[in-house]
């Protein structure tokens, strides 16, 4: 509850007219950003905890061994995905991506994951290997002075039917195979 309350209070502050319109002084803007950043992190702890409870549920195998499966996942949010940055996807040999749909109807989604190379495989929970595509991170983004990232590409895949107020998870792993790096269309240079 204290985690949620921090974000609740921050959202209260964000309803001040200066926060809504951007007419706050610069130092106040920094403070707003700090509050929102901390609020996102505190709520992340809650979602991590809830998702771990949901994904841990006792499976038949667990019952056979008489104990819950001791699986804990990080469920990190990557707040810099808008500039194609994410430590987990850039640096891990294998990782999972969980998509939670906050809407009251199922949705489809094109997922873009920043990656350093073009040798990944994406599987869903039914052991189906998904079609993927790579596109380069735009040159202007790669040249941003403050962007410290290994990601040169974005891995794209299509997710169908994420259930309402529900989630789907994907297992993403580096492979030994070599894939073609995305090349510009030569007819349109």
């Amino acid at each position: 509850l204290p985690h949620l309350n921090f974000m609740r209070e921050t959202m209260g502050v964000m309803q001040h007219h200066d926060a809504v319109t951007g007419t706050e002084k610069q130092k106040v803007a920094y403070d707003y950003a700090r509050h929102l950043s901390v609020g996102m992190r505190t709520c992340e702890a809650n979602s991590r905890s809830v998702l771990n409870i949901l994904t841990e549920g006792e499976s038949p195998r667990d019952k056979r061994y008489g104990k819950p499966r001791p699986v804990k996942f990080e469920f990190k949010t990557c707040s810099l995905l808008n500039i194609s940055m994410c430590d987990v996807s850039e640096q891990s040999e294998q990782f999972t991506l969980t998509l939670y749909n906050p809407l009251g109807h199922s949705v489809n989604d094109y997922v873009r994951v920043p990656v350093a190379d073009v040798n990944y495989e994406v599987k869903d929970y039914k052991d189906v290997v998904l079609d993927i595509q790579y596109v380069p991170v735009p040159e202007a983004v790669q040249l941003l002075k403050f962007r410290k990232s290994l990601a040169k590409y974005e891995l794209i895949f299509y997710v169908r039917d994420i259930p309402a107020f529900g989630y789907k998870s994907f297992y993403i792993k580096k492979t030994d195979g070599h894939h073609m790096k995305p090349q510009p269309d030569p007819d349109n240079m």
Binding site: K25, P136, I156
Partner: protein, 287 residues
């Protein structure tokens, strides 16, 4: 091969030989729609009287109604694949964009990046993206009210009093939280935003949205600072997305375009949350 096009069976975008968007094919009908980045030069003054008011945090006040262009021929690179087709556009050293159409989508995405806005010439700049079409909107456009109902706007007009605008551009700007749209009896064009922005339709068939601003003077309404935010010793860079939806208009007795806009708006503003977890588990263990 001099023209570039990207798209799918629902929507197809064509770019001219200069690298600008030239037309959009939506559900088999071709519409002349172009898109470009422009900027207004900010007004500066001593704030003693209204006529000398500077553009600032509280008010958008261009020096003149004229806009400046940023590029005559953006560099473009095209990437095609099974899931998405993208055009990467570079307009200048501080404006670039990726235009993309996913295989299953009925809209086009414009992911723009602007900044750091140069101000070495001591001129504040307010950057806009403008979509111009052949739609005969007759000065009428619609902006949303906090993502809910759409409010009808008529250029140079107020519903409850006779207005004579002295500032033609700023006086026609309205808040846009998620959507701005216009239409005629056949066609409707809507742009969805990923954040609140100012927007307008200053000529028939055209929609514009302000995406970034960097100003060098305070407007004397209270903040007592110019809107000139910096980070790492340079002006801020803003990156965001616009979603373009084109289709038959409401007047054509077809609710499809507006319902598509509504679903897309929900799915973009409340997009699935992404959670990443590093793991040592094999696939079967994880499964």
């Amino acid at each position: 091969s001099s023209l570039v096009d990207i798209g799918n069976q629902h929507i197809r975008l064509t770019f001219d030989t200069n690298g600008f968007l030239a037309s959009v094919d939506a559900e088999g009908v071709t519409h002349m729609i172009s898109q470009e980045f422009l900027y207004y030069e900010a007004a500066t003054g001593n704030n003693k009287i209204y006529a000398n008011r500077s553009s600032g945090a509280y008010i958008f006040r261009p020096k003149t109604d004229a806009v400046r262009t940023v590029a005559v021929a953006p560099e473009i690179t095209v990437y095609r694949g099974e899931l998405v087709e993208e055009v990467h556009q570079k307009f200048n050293e501080w404006i670039s964009q990726v235009v993309r159409v996913y295989k299953e989508s009925r809209h086009a995405e414009f992911e723009w990046m602007v900044g750091p806005i140069p101000v070495e010439d001591n001129i504040g700049k307010e950057i806009i993206t403008r979509f111009s079409s052949d739609i005969k909107s007759e000065g009428i456009f619609y902006t949303d009210s906090n993502g809910r109902e759409m409010i009808k706007r008529l250029k140079d007009h107020r519903d409850t009093w006779r207005v004579k605008l002295l500032e033609h551009t700023a006086g026609n700007y309205y808040p846009v939280t998620t959507k701005i749209a216009l239409e005629d009896e056949h066609t409707r064009m809507a742009i969805l935003t990923d954040r609140a922005q100012g927007g307008s339709s200053l000529s028939d068939g055209a929609l514009e949205l302000m995406i970034h601003r960097r100003l060098l003077h305070d407007d004397a309404f209270g903040v007592d600072e110019s809107l000139n935010e910096t980070a790492f010793g340079q002006g801020l860079v803003a990156r965001g997305t616009h979603y373009l939806i084109v289709g038959p208009s409401q007047l054509d007795q077809s609710p499809t375009t507006q319902s598509l806009e509504r679903f897309t708006q929900l799915e973009k503003t409340l997009a699935p949350w992404r959670f990443f977890s590093e793991t040592n588990y094999s696939y079967s263990e994880w499964s």
